[in-house]
Amino acid sequence: MTPATLYGLCAAALVAIGLFGLILHPSPLRKVISFNLVGSGTFLFFGVAARRGAVAGFLGDPVPQAMVITGIVVAFAATALAVALLLRMLESGAPTVDGPPEQPDDLSP
């Protein structure tokens, strides 16, 4: 077995673990974290494909590598948006298992 194959199996396990948390966790924040796990597993898949595509003197196929870089940044943007949405939802009193947020000290003018 090559290291790339081993990490491919690890990627499959990461996706499965993340999916488990995404479906079962009642708390929205934990769902966001689980979703990021699924994302990490998917990126690792691309990494394995890139490593296998090492031809023409390259250490890896640069196209999937560039896509993963793009993907990591987009995943960050999605996470930041989701967290902001979640905090706003709790501030406006939506009932969730996370309970109401603490009022930030500097909210009042």
Partner: protein, 311 residues
């Protein structure tokens, strides 16, 4: 022997992942996720993808972890938020997820032969552009449209975050990032480190043309320095309505689009570079993009406006 190292890495990663899901306390889950991000960046080194390793460490573990930790601090401590529903449901979902995982594993174990690769196409492109880092060539020349759209996604994401501010606060400052209790140690770090970080951020951008590094990695380092200064209370988050700030957000994508449109007149079409001038144009676009990424990432961590704008 070398496979043993990989095996240990995989076991550590899976432990961190399981802990992320099973931890009772949400802060423990976030910390496990940050650890996972750092381990994954080591894996990217093992897969010889240094550019991705840098991005994973800076954005995947670092910036994402910071956003999640801030969210934890803003939520009331709840004892058992890791409580999963009943055992029967857990088993059912567990089986479902195991099946999905097994299918993916089967794909990994029966790969297509020969392995598909676009590397030769990129190699052909590299000579036209004159850059030595293939990943940068893909990001800014071979598949530049993807990168441009991703910048647009970043700007839209920031607008989305800002749009979540209550109407009263629109255009005001985000909630302060300062630590709950002021710490001389943090202030010391925030006074000494940022100049060095700025230099390293610029180095990553400049070096990215020919070596691992680039706009994302450098921009994230710059954003981290800005956030450190704000956390140590040496500077407030800026008003989100400030025109200068909004120009910084837009300068990278705008220059990228302008260069792309100029390609119609001066080269073969959208986002193609005139022969001979590709490298200086790409470096200019990269500098502008790094600046915009730094500002966007910092503002995304800071969150929507939480104060009324000054009169």
């Amino acid at each position: 022997m070398s496979l043993a190292v990989d095996l240990v890495m995989v076991l550590l990663i899976l432990t961190a992942a399981v802990w992320t899901i099973l931890a009772r306390d949400r802060r423990d889950a976030v910390i496990a996720f940050i650890v996972l991000g750092l381990l994954l960046s080591l894996v990217w080194m093992r897969l010889l993808a240094v550019d991705v390793a840098l991005t994973e460490a800076a954005v995947g573990g670092g910036a994402t972890g910071l956003v999640l930790l801030r969210a934890c601090a803003r939520l009331l401590p709840v004892e058992a938020d890791g409580a999963l529903p009943g055992l029967r449901l857990q088993v059912a979902v567990g089986v479902l997820c195991a099946v999905v995982g097994a299918c993916l594993a089967a794909v990994i174990l029966s790969p297509p032969e020969p392995a598909p690769s676009l590397a030769p196409a990129v190699a052909a492109h590299m000579e036209d552009v004159g850059l030595k880092n293939p990943v940068t060539v893909v990001l800014l020349a071979y598949r530049a449209l993807d990168t441009l759209l991703e910048k647009v996604v970043l700007v839209l994401g920031l607008i989305g975050v800002w749009a979540l501010a209550p109407d009263l606060f629109w255009g005001g400052r985000p909630a302060s990032l300062r630590a709950a209790v002021p710490s001389g140690t943090l202030t010391f770090l925030a006074r000494v480190l940022p100049p060095i970080g700025v230099l390293i951020g610029i180095y990553l951008v400049w070096n990215g043309a020919d070596h691992p590094g680039g706009t994302f990695q450098g921009g994230t380092v710059l954003a981290a320095m800005w956030l450190l200064v704000m956390m140590a209370d040496l500077g407030d988050p800026p008003e989100t309505r400030a025109l200068r700030l909004r120009r910084l957000v837009a300068v990278g994508p705008a220059l990228f689009i302008a260069v792309g449109l100029a390609g119609f007149g001066m080269a073969d079409g959208f986002l193609s570079y005139p022969p001979g001038y590709a490298k200086p144009i790409i470096v200019a676009v990269e500098v502008a993009l790094a600046l915009s990424i730094a500002v966007i990432l910092g503002l995304m961590v800071a969150g929507p406006a939480a104060k009324e704008p000054d009169q």
